[in-house]
Amino acid sequence: MMIETHGLSRKFSGNLAVDGLTIEVREGEVFGLLGPNGAGKTTTVRMLACLIRPTSGTARINGYELGRDNQQIRRICGILTETPGLYEKLSARENLLYFAWLYDVQDPEAQVRKYLQMLGLWDKRDEPVGIFSKGMRQKVAIARALIHEPRLLFLDEPTAALDPESAKTVRDFIEELKSENRTIFLCTHNLDEAERLSDRIGVIRQRLIAVDTPDGLRRGLFGRQTVVQLAEVTPALVDALRGLDFISHVNQDGNRLLVSLSDPDAQNPVIVERLVRAGAKVQYVSEVKHSLEDVYLTLVREETQ
């Protein structure tokens, strides 16, 4: 296990920023942490990256105990903060070399070259980062987070404030990192990004509301649903479906029937057969897939209420 936390909490002047967070993140997993502003995402990252101490609770990073083995934890973690935080008068190369030295990288020059080339910035290596675009700065910040080849990478809003093209470049790069078996802890507001990149997602609002794969969260919240489009819906057709014991709900929406069930792969053929026998003209059948946005908003609203 790369990250294990038990009841991790943090208070600021009496206010709970993070409340009893208990999570496990496996090695090589991309774990997305979602939550509204002020939900405690950045505080969580700061605690796990040994930047601030938890008020209570425990955590282990790759077996190292938070609080006791902070220096070892810092060595195996890379962090991309919300803002790039680069030294604007220094060049991209100088920025990266500084961090390579601080992380005791064996061959700093080679490592700097590797990441600047990988991110397409090698030709700009000697230019001060103050003149770089936001996207270029973010690339340098990502290179800085990776300069010591960390096994665990914290990415806090990696594509926030980037134009769509730069955001795509950064997302593509994170996808490449996934294939390198690095563990990535991703905090984001971008739900599409979270769904595309994360193996599992945790939703936080001071405390952890839910954690699962994106599909698991959908199923847990909305169950599974099939939509059947018919030429015409009659009460007899609705009754025909209600007679099936594996169906929990049937709702009509115009000429569409929304059917809640547990195993669409096995049960959809039975539904279609029953409808056809009852005289229905089936136009199409598909699974209803709720967006992660629906899942997220429902979870957060439920938590607020």
Partner: protein, 260 residues
């Protein structure tokens, strides 16, 4: 301390790209070295003003091995010891504020603190970056002054200028002032977000030095080796106090959660 040197080197890379800081480091020492020499050049053949002589009468009695003219020159040059001591006060606070507030402005502290550097190493690197140029320029200015004085001062006056008081000022008090200045720079930088504001506040710490110089100019006191030795002890105690305050503020947690 290897990491402190890495920080020192990076700080210097940044300083060398900042003209304002370079002027702050370079111009005052040159002026402070040249001004007393110019004064000495013009005073050495001029008769002593009777008013000056009256003001410094007690000093003439205290320094019987100098002529009255040499006493007046000595007292006036003594002020420059204190002026020279303004450099280790002003330069470090300027560099420290630039360095720490610069990190705040650029939001580079969080990724930096996430590295396996100890905060003591980080603070030591930043302190070195502020202290080394201040001391080198102070000593360089003093060396230029002494070289000029070798040609302009009478042998008796030169001997007086090379008294332990001057060595104490440059090799004990100057480093102590530097450390005090950096520690004050850290304290100010933790509460202020603008480099210029920090430098203006930091500039106020020269006022006690100026006040001490004024006391001698107006004939109220003549500083001696004993005075400077006592001042060094007091300064060392103040250093310890301010360093403790600065070190408490310069902690990962405090920087990220309590600094403005």
């Amino acid at each position: 301390m290897r990491k402190a040197l890495i920080v020192f080197r990076k700080e210097w890379r940044e300083i060398l790209k900042n003209k304002l800081i370079l002027y702050t480091i370079g111009v005052p020492p040159i002026l402070l070295a040249i001004l007393p020499l110019v004064m000495m050049y013009f005073m050495r053949n001029e008769p002593v003003d009777p008013e000056d002589l009256a003001m410094y009468a007690q000093f003439v009695a205290a320094l019987p091995w100098l002529t009255p003219q040499e006493v007046v020159m000595y007292v006036l040059l003594n002020q420059f010891v204190l002026m020279f001591l303004m450099m280790p006060v002003v330069i470090p606070v300027t560099i420290a504020s630039f360095s720490i507030i610069g990190e705040k402005e650029q939001r580079s502290l969080e990724p930096l603190l996430a590295t396996p550097i100890r905060v003591t190493e980080l603070l030591a690197g930043k302190t070195l970056a502020a202290v080394v140029p201040a001391l080198l320029t102070t000593w360089a200015a003093f060396a230029i002054f002494l070289a000029g004085a070798y040609f302009l001062a009478t042998p008796a006056l030169l001997r007086a200028l090379l008294s332990p008081m001057w060595w104490l000022a440059f090799f004990v008090m100057a480093p102590l002032f530097c450390i005090l200045s950096v520690a004050i720079g850290v304290v100010i930088s933790s509460r202020v977000n603008d480099t210029r504001v920090a430098q203006q506040i930091g500039g106020l710490i020269v006022l006690p030095v100026v006040a001490l110089a004024m006391l001698q100019t107006f004939g109220k006191v003549l500083y001696t080796t004993q005075t400077f030795a006592l001042a060094s002890v007091v300064l060392a105690a103040v250093d310890v106090l301010v360093i403790r305050v600065g070190s408490n503020l310069f902690q990962r947690e405090a920087i990220l959660t309590r600094w403005k």
